[in-house]
């Protein structure tokens, strides 16, 4: 097994406040991790630390999505691959989307149910559709691993499953902060629970039940 993400005995915080203490994690390629815990426990911090460290080769869906509302769905998805393509191609695509790139992006958008919205400005979409645009961008970014901070929060049960299916089939390794315990149990191979600024639980998903996880949410 190859190691994909690794943190050893590290403290993290914002402006002197420690949010996470003594964190050690090893994540192997092929694992599907769900980070669970109360809001404010430090899930987002952990995701953004991993993102900062592994930005070069990891797709990312931030909680605030990072979309450009005045650009179309196509352009926002295409932004996942700006670093792969030449400046000229990027600029041409901005003014006049190339059929070749549309052909690449169309199926991804269709998979997430926004294929018809490809040339609609993102600012005009619903919250759920915007979130799925950010998912498409991560998929178009490509690579073997994806980090996501609550990537299904704005979607209903059905759409959430569409998103989870898309992410888990597109990426070999996924690390997602989740607030939906059932979805976490269903799609993950391993659950990492965060409580009181540290990792309180780290088990295989088939070794744990919903009630075990409830302890994470008790003061």
């Amino acid at each position: 097994m190859t190691l994909r993400f690794k943190l050893t005995d590290e403290d993290f915080g914002y402006r002197g406040d420690i949010v996470l203490r003594d964190i050690s994690i090893e994540i192997n390629a092929g694992e599907r991790i769900a980070l669970v815990g109360q809001s404010g426990a430090g899930k987002s911090t952990l995701i953004s630390i991993l993102q900062a460290r592994y930005a070069a080769d990891t797709a990312f869906v931030p909680q605030d999505l990072g979309l450009v509302p005045t650009l179309s769905v196509f352009h926002n998805i295409y932004m996942g691959a700006l670093q792969r393509n030449s400046v000229v191609r990027n600029l041409l695509n901005l003014v006049w989307p190339r059929p070749a790139d549309i052909a690449l992006i169309q199926p991804i958008a269709e998979q997430l149910g926004i294929g018809e919205k490809l040339f609609v400005k993102v600012g005009e979409l619903s919250g759920g559709q915007q979130q799925r645009t950010a998912i498409c961008r991560a998929i178009f970014h490509g690579g073997d691993a994806c980090l996501g901070d609550e990537p299904v929060s704005a979607n209903d049960q059905h759409q959430s499953r569409v998103i989870m299916d898309a992410l888990t089939t597109s990426f070999d390794t996924v690390v997602l902060a989740m607030h939906d315990i059932d979805l976490a149990l269903e799609y993950s191979t391993r659950i990492i629970g965060i409580k009181d600024q540290s990792i309180a639980l780290d088990v295989a998903a088939d070794q744990v039940t919903r009630t075990d996880l409830n302890t994470l949410y008790v003061k």
């Binding site: 070069a56 931030p62 990072g66 509302p69 932004m79 700006l82 670093q83 400046v87």
Partner: protein
């Protein structure tokens, strides 16, 4: 806030005693009647090719603003460098008309003079506003870009789209300002509206002047109809061909300007290692400072302070004219019509008209500045007052004004007013060209005596004064916690 306002009002009264505000014409009423008659009998046939005058005015505005906006945009990318910021502050502290006077010395009466006179200060203003707009823009999309994304793609995809609307709105607002600047450039001899207006006035042909002004208002009022995003490319190709002739630029003039004209007279061709040269230079600086700069500064500051308070008073009187809280649709449309006319007329032209009526003193300048700027602030405040939520059983009339409205919008009002302070001072200096003894008067006199070195010295003094007022105004706004509110003025919708 009241204490600061009280201080400024008291200061303005003190200035009023020191200022010369007499009416010197023998019979202003007859002249006013003749002008009034001209306004009601506009003569659209008087200028033989009145259409071309307007086209040329637009062409100068378009070329100048386009060049300024593009230059400003490029500069905004370098705005984090101190020297770029300072250079921009300097070029925008000098009025378009002064730039025109400078470029006249270099390029003569050519289109280049007019275009650069608009483009240069506008580049300085646009650079600042664009840079601030980009800085305030949403940065979240930048954070998701993968490392290795080239700078240009990152900028065009993740940063520019979010603020594009603001930049576009601001630029189109600048274009409207550019039309006014272009019209006024005619007063120094360029073939735009101002040139024909001055001719008409000096011949007492008020019907012709009225026709020119009416067409100018129609042009500004219909701006949205003909200044379409899709047509901008076409205008950019066509506009340079409508600037008129006179492209013969003498390189020798440009060389002379830089190597001889702007060198202070005592230093020209003298030995720079001789003490005598430098003591003569010191005398030169002393002479210009005492005889021109100091009196010019005093007059400019006096006039500015009076005009600032006058602007405030008029704005407070005029904003209810367009407010839904005070007037019905009929009253409001009359109010709108009045404010549009007054704020579309450049201060310079207003001052010129009042000067014809009342003769040379500070009075025409004060009234012109207060009317024009009061109408601009009154317009913004009127719109702002419409947003104010009142309880259903609110007071009416003067009680509404005094108890409900004024206390709510006074902070906004002061923010607008202090933001306008620097603009008023810039204009005050320039009105000297019309014969009022502000800094512009001394600059204009020095230029007509072909003492370019003196004029340059005084222009730099003027710029320094403007930058000083800008800093002072920012301090006061921050002190009163008004800085955020003033920003709204920079991006008028």
């Amino acid at each position: 806030m009241l204490r600061v306002s009280g201080f400024f009002v008291a200061l303005a009264f003190a200035c009023l005693f020191a200022a010369d505000i007499s009416i010197t014409t023998l019979d202003p009423w007859t002249e006013m009647q003749r002008m009034g008659l001209g306004v009601v009998t506009p003569d659209f046939t008087a200028v033989s090719d009145i259409g071309w005058v307007l086209v040329r005015t637009v062409a100068f505005a378009f070329c100048g603003v386009a060049l300024g906006a593009v230059g400003g945009f490029l500069l905004s990318q370098l705005f984090h460098y101190g020297p770029v910021r300072w250079a921009c502050a300097f070029v925008r502290a000098i009025h378009e008309l002064f730039w025109a006077l400078i470029f006249l010395q270099m390029f003569g009466l050519t289109p280049l003079t007019g275009v650069l006179a608009i483009a240069l200060p506008y580049a300085g203003i646009c650079a600042k506003v664009y840079a601030e707009t980009l800085e305030e823009g949403d940065q979240r999309a930048v954070k998701i870009l993968a490392p290795g994304t080239d700078i240009l793609s990152a900028f065009l995809y993740a940063r520019l789209p979010g603020v594009w609307v603001h930049i576009r709105n601001y630029t189109s607002y600048r274009f409207e300002c550019g039309l006014r600047s272009s019209a006024v450039l005619g007063f120094v001899g360029l073939p735009t509206l101002g040139f024909y207006l001055e001719t008409a006035f000096s011949e007492g042909n008020y019907s012709e002047a009225a026709a020119l002004m009416i067409l100018f208002y129609i042009m500004i009022a219909s701006l949205r109809l003909w200044m379409r995003p899709k047509l901008i490319g076409l205008y950019a190709i066509v506009a340079p061909f409508f600037l008129g002739g006179g492209f013969s630029i003498e390189m020798s003039n440009i060389k002379r300007f830089f190597t001889i004209d702007i060198v202070p007279a005592p230093l020209r061709g003298e030995a720079l290692d001789s003490m005598n040269t430098w003591s003569q230079f010191a005398d030169w600086v002393w002479f210009i400072s005492v005889d021109m700069a100091v009196p010019g500064i005093i007059a400019t500051v006096l006039l500015t302070q009076i005009a600032l308070v006058g602007t405030g008073v008029l704005a407070l009187l005029m904003f209810p004219l367009i407010s839904k809280k005070f007037f019905g649709p009929v009253g409001r449309s009359i109010g709108h019509g009045f404010l549009v006319v007054v704020r579309s007329t450049p201060e310079f032209i207003l001052a010129y008209i009042f000067l014809q009526l009342w003769g040379p003193s500070m009075l025409p300048a004060i009234v012109a500045l207060a009317l024009h700027n009061g109408a601009i602030i009154g317009h913004l405040m009127g719109r702002f007052s419409d947003e104010v939520k009142l309880r259903p059983d609110h007071a009416r009339g003067l009680n509404l004004y005094g108890f409900e409205m004024l206390p709510r919008i006074y902070g906004q009002f002061l923010a607008y007013l202090f933001y306008r302070w620097e603009v008023i001072m810039r204009e005050t200096a320039i009105l000297g060209i019309l014969g009022i003894a502000t800094l512009g008067f001394f600059i204009d006199s020095a230029l007509s005596e072909i003492r370019i070195d003196r004029a340059m010295f005084l222009i730099v003094v003027t710029a320094a004064l403007n930058i000083g007022i800008d800093i002072l105004s920012r301090r006061i706004r921050r002190h009163l916690h008004l800085s955020d509110e003033a920003r709204q003025l920079k991006n008028p919708a």
